[in-house]
Amino acid sequence: MKVNNVIEDRVLDARGLMCPMPVVKASRELMLMQPGQVLKVIASDRAARTDFPAWVEDVGHQLLRSGQESNGTLVFYVRKREESE
């Protein structure tokens, strides 16, 4: 799936998970990925809208794009930071 020419390398479906599991699981996924790779995260929790970008900023990854689909689910594209950062 392409979004603004961004192609994800992995997808994390975090719908239905309670806090703080979406972030814990995203962190775990990113740990297994290479720097520069993109993780797509799908979430249903409304708190994720502000929470997730805050976490991405906090740990130094890059939020490429976020959005909400017509059925209410939230989608985030996160690029893993370089090791040196």
């Binding site: 239905g16 309670m18 806090c19 703080p20 814990v24 805050a54």
Partner: protein
């Protein structure tokens, strides 16, 4: 005609019993191990019905079937569609599309409806003592109420999965359109799933029955213009995959044995009390505010959620505890025990009869004070505020003077909390607050739980402290 629908709420699963009231013979369809073979045998015996066959609509991936055991115990055939041959590792009685099975004048017609799985069938039921017109159809995981069965639970092994996800979706679309929607509108629909089941999508109704006419009018996936639109709609509206579905499916295929450990044991209050004196820990999986209103002394509160209970337990608690589950209703406690055992925790059993049984046995019930954000704001100087969220949430805005004790580190770090008379614990809402408050209570602290948490604090427009992010 005798017809029973057994709704197992914790998994949103429905099994059925169809029998002739004259011949006193009948069929059990899609029996679930959580209820167990005894349940179906006793149900049949209560109605004076002799089982003449155990049927499955398909090989399930979200719950463990007890069809084999039930068929063996009743001494009757276990029926599956013929294309399950070569995939399951046990004997069964194969069914062909269009075949009829009878119990007196009650007749079941096999309708092959592949898609959710290749061997999926529906059973169209007639009561010939009334007439030849079909009355209802057991649709398994093909057509659900408001939704359809997900086509993506693949084992990833070509021996067991003869179609990929896209092919399965297209096949499911055709099965429903050409076979089920070809039935008269008055035919009732009884699916295998309802409510929160993860075998359906977000449009799955909590009601466990419908009619062909109703679903032709209002079923959202089937309202898509074509098979491709159907496939993408189903993909976009699916729920997270069921926990441990590959293991469950492997068990149902006869490739693996049921859990290595013993099933969860129901313990009475006396047995729980004895286990507690030996150092066991009660894990209370009820919502935080119900926990606060009354719980077993020393209990740890971790609210049940099927999709991530095991993960949250792993992130918050050590695995070497002897755990006793307190959940209500008890079916939830049983399911929680299964999920935690599967994640490697030692679960000794669960409290039978819940808090009422504990209280009835004359045991002490503990409570946790609950504060509103208004209470907290008014008397903020009386409390040390404990923030149970994660660091990134704390940085984005917290109550002045709040001490960060994340739910994921509270078990190990409880002793790091400043020594202050009363602790007021909050999170974004209340679930993680309940966990951290219960851990601090165990550590001997005087604790209150703030209901509504940071969300309620912000709604009131109360002040908060922000930090700027510190990269790297």
């Amino acid at each position: 005609m005798i017809f029973k629908q057994y709704r197992y709420e914790p998994l949103g699963q429905a099994s059925h019993l169809v029998a002739s009231s004259e011949a006193r013979q009948g069929f059990a369809i899609d029996p679930i191990a959580d209820l167990g073979p005894d349940f179906y045998l006793l149900e049949a015996a209560d109605m004076g019905v002799t089982l003449v066959g155990v049927l499955e609509t398909h090989l399930h991936a979200d719950y463990i079937s007890c069809a084999r055991e039930l068929a063996a115990r009743a001494g009757v055939p276990h029926h599956l569609h013929e294309c399950a041959a070569g995939r399951v590792r046990y004997q069964f009685s194969p069914l062909k599309d269009g075949q009829h099975l009878s119990a007196g004048k009650v007749e079941l017609e096999v309708v092959w409806t592949p898609g959710h799985t290749p061997e999926h069938v529906s059973y169209l039921v007639r009561d010939r003592s009334r007439g030849a017109e079909p009355w209802f159809v057991l649709t398994g995981d093909s057509l659900l109420v408001g939704d359809v069965g997900r086509p993506d639970l693949l084992l990833g092994d070509a021996t067991f999965d003869v179609m990929d996800e896209g092919e399965r979706a297209a096949t499911l679309y055709r099965s429903i359109r050409d076979r089920l929607f070809a039935l008269p509108d008055h035919v009732e629909v009884y699916p295998n799933h309802f409510g929160g089941s993860s075998c359906g999508g977000i449009n799955l109704s909590g009601k466990a029955s419908s009619t062909i006419g109703m679903e032709k009018l209002l079923n959202l996936p089937m309202s898509q213009p074509d098979a491709a639109g159907f496939a993408s709609f189903v993909r976009e509206t699916s729920r997270p995959v069921p926990h441990g579905y590959k293991t469950i499916k492997a068990i149902n295929l006869g490739l693996a044995e049921k859990e290595r450990g013993a099933p969860a044991i129901a313990l009475n209050a006396l047995a729980v009390d004895m286990a507690l004196t030996r150092g066991a820990v009660v894990l209370d999986v009820r919502p935080a505010l119900r926990f606060a209103a009354g719980h077993l002394p020393g209990a740890v509160n971790l609210q049940f959620n099927r999709d991530d209970l095991a993960d949250r337990a792993l992130s918050a608690l050590p695995q070497d505890l002897d755990i006793i589950i307190h959940g209500e209703p008890e079916a939830v406690a049983g399911e929680a025990a299964g999920l935690l055992t599967g994640a490697g925790f030692r679960v000794a059993g669960y409290l039978r009869g819940g808090l009422a049984a504990w209280e009835g046995a004359g045991k002490t019930v503990a409570t946790l004070r609950v504060l509103s954000v208004e209470d907290l704001r008014e008397r903020i100087s009386d409390y040390q505020v404990i923030d149970a969220r994660e660091r990134h949430e704390y940085r984005r805005g917290h109550i002045e003077g709040a001490f960060l004790l994340s739910s994921t580190s509270a078990w190990g770090d409880a002793s790091s909390v400043p020594n202050h008379l009363t602790l007021a614990v909050h999170c974004a809402d209340v679930a993680r607050g309940g966990l951290v408050a219960s851990i601090l209570t165990r550590a001997g602290r005087d604790v209150s739980l703030v209901a509504g948490g940071m969300n309620a604090w912000r709604e009131q427009g109360y002040p908060e402290v922000r930090e700027t992010a510190n990269h790297g």
